[in-house]
């Protein structure tokens, strides 16, 4: 396909008085894994829903696989796959029947799709549960079946809204592996997540949203370098340590810092050197850890540490 898989220009959406997406621009190149990060209520899910046709475009322009999301909903939906945040499998049907039924929603001939359904059951590692009712599956199996279901129509683009939320580490890993296999096949993946590890592992590019706007965008390593530097120094400040005085002596040598409840994180290309520069007699610390800077540092730095409720 030529051109980006998704193209948004001044894309906006409000629900009543509440602005969910506030005029954002982004482009998802075809064939990569593109991540949307952001706290609850940032507008990620609303953006995904506009892409897969479960929310109408409120303002601006949205093109999916080159088609206009306002006017060509049916055509767009026939060429993309969706893994929604909520698990909405059909509990009255078996595992295999869920996939067969999904094929019929796409108008695919049931006889022609049979081999593909078997292949998808293997792909999702649930072939041995094919004839069980979906209700009997574990959470991880259900999510893998959700991924398999999104592939029934051989989509060019798959939208995954928090595909691994609520899964245990093993189940999460199984979903990641299946997404990595899809990526190797050249399918464009668009995912939202709360897990920085997931984003760093899977995404070639990502953007961070907050309060309906895009805060930053880029490849994960580039984002880390741009916003926090290579390394982080985490200091647990002692009870009588004057944090602002410490920062006065040292902030200029760091690429940035975060102070939160007596825990000071400083970012720098060489955190060891920064640690050496601290006057430990004047500024006692309970602990000092040098580590690599992560996407989580970028995320917290750009979206703050306060709790967000609901979305």
């Amino acid at each position: 396909m030529n051109g980006p898989a998704v193209l948004a220009r001044r894309l906006a959406k409000s629900y009543g008085d509440r602005v969910a997406v506030d005029g954002i621009d982004f482009e998802v190149p075809a064939g990569i894994c593109f991540g949307f990060l952001g706290p609850n209520g940032a507008g990620k899910t609303t953006t995904m829903k506009m892409i897969y046709g479960l929310a109408r475009v409120g303002g601006g322009e949205l093109r999916v696989l080159g088609m206009d999301a306002r006017r060509e909903r049916r055509e767009i939906k026939s060429r993309i796959g969706v893994v929604s945040q909520e698990t909405n499998l059909d509990g009255d049907l078996t595992v295999r029947e869920n996939l067969m039924q999904q094929a019929s929603y796409y108008g695919i001939d049931p006889h022609a799709v049979r081999p593909r359904v078997s292949e998808l059951l293997d792909f999702a590692l649930i072939a041995d549960r094919s004839d069980d009712r979906v209700q009997a599956l574990s959470g991880g199996m259900k999510r893998r079946l959700m991924v398999a279901r999104s592939l029934v129509n051989e989509p060019e683009l798959i939208v995954l809204d928090e595909p691994t939320t609520g899964l245990d580490p093993q189940a999460r890993l199984a979903v990641w592996r299946s997404l990595e296999r899809l990526k190797r096949r050249g399918v464009t993946l668009l995912l939202t997540t709360h897990y920085m590890e997931e984003a760093s592992r899977l995404c070639d590019r990502l953007l961070i949203m907050d309060e309906g706007r895009i805060v930053t965008e880029g490849a994960p390593p580039a984002l880390i370098r741009r916003h926090v530097g290579r390394e982080a120094l985490e200091l647990e400040l002692g009870g009588d340590c004057d944090a602002s005085a410490l920062l006065e002596t040292i902030a200029a040598r760091a690429d940035g810092h975060e102070l939160h409840d007596g825990a000071l994180t400083l970012f720098a290309d060489d955190a060891e050197e920064l640690l050496g520069a601290i006057d430990h007699d004047r500024f006692p610390t309970d602990s000092a850890i040098v580590r690599r800077a992560t996407l989580e540092d970028v995320f917290l730095r750009l979206t703050g540490r306060s709790l967000r409720e609901g979305e």
């Binding site: 046709g53 479960l54 969706v82 049907l93 039924q101 019929s104």
Partner: protein, 273 residues
């Protein structure tokens, strides 16, 4: 009163592109419901089969014994029996398009998945209504077989009853779907049954005719879909009058067509905000 999540009222006016269903996609929705029914039908069919049977026993054979001359020249049992075919279709449609649609939409969230495939709201509503009226026809035919077996059908025209039950089922279903798509809370469903379905069951001419009652009673009955389906089934079971059947059929078809856009609009506003 707290509303269901996503409750959005009637929604905006839609053009033909968003109102006319695609047959293939509606068929896929029908197929899903039929598939699930095929697994559960034994448990689901029995009560609906027993229900009219008890009414027939109590009223047709019980009360009917005291109505020596029958009604309008028809023995009372034979008068009541065809109406029970129509009411079975009504009860089936009413449950299917209220509780069952509600659970698929709001509890199981199945419609979110369906609408993220090429299926659009008008296909979903059409498929669900087609299914609900198919189910109503199954129920109606079961009752037809029962009343025919006990000798309460005197006209061979009764063989034509099923397609009319299908049409009546569509009309009941579109009414139930309209209610479900507009009602903000499941708690209000009891009103639909207590103030709508039950009175309709009692006062649509199944158990007594209107010719001895004040004229306005028949006018009110004329406004209900059940009355029209009862007139059709009774006509066919006892010897039909073609003109009257045509009028009742037209009533059911026109009301169904007029109401159809309402649940499409409301469902779309609710699920694709």
């Amino acid at each position: 009163m707290s509303y269901e999540p996503g409750y959005a009222g009637l929604g905006e006016r839609l053009g033909p592109r968003d109102l006319i269903p695609s047959a293939g996609h509606a068929a896929a929705v029908w197929l899903r419901n039929a598939k699930v029914f095929s697994k559960l039908w034994k448990g689901a069919l029995l009560p609906t089969f027993l229900d009219p049977f008890f009414y027939l026993l109590a009223l047709g054979f019980g009360l009917g014994t005291y109505i020596a001359h029958g009604i309008n020249g028809i023995p009372y049992k034979e008068f009541v029996a065809p109406g029970l075919i129509a009411s079975a279709a009504m009860w089936s449609s009413a449950f299917e398009t209220t509780y069952n649609v509600y659970f698929r939409m709001n509890e199981l969230r199945l419609y979110d998945n369906v609408l993220s495939t090429p299926v659009e709201p008008q296909d979903l509503v059409a498929g669900d209504i087609a299914w609900s009226s198919s189910r109503a026809t199954v129920y109606g035919v079961v009752v037809l077989i029962v009343v025919a077996a006990v000798g309460l059908v005197s006209s061979p025209w009764a063989i034509l009853i099923p397609p009319f039950v299908l049409l009546g089922g569509m009309c009941f279903s579109v009414i139930g779907y309209t209610f479900t798509s507009l009602v903000p809370k499941i708690d209000l469903y009891s009103y639909f049954f207590t103030l709508g379905i039950t009175p309709m069951f009692l006062f649509s001419g199944i158990f007594f005719p209107f010719n001895q009652l004040p004229g306005w009673v028949e006018v009110v009955a004329w406004l209900t879909p059940l009355y029209h389906l009862v007139e059709i089934t009774r006509g066919l079971a006892t010897g039909p009058d073609a003109v009257s059947i045509l009028i009742h059929t037209a009533w059911l078809a026109v009301v169904t067509a007029i109401l159809f856009p309402i649940p499409v609009r409301a469902l779309r506003a609710r699920l694709v905000p």
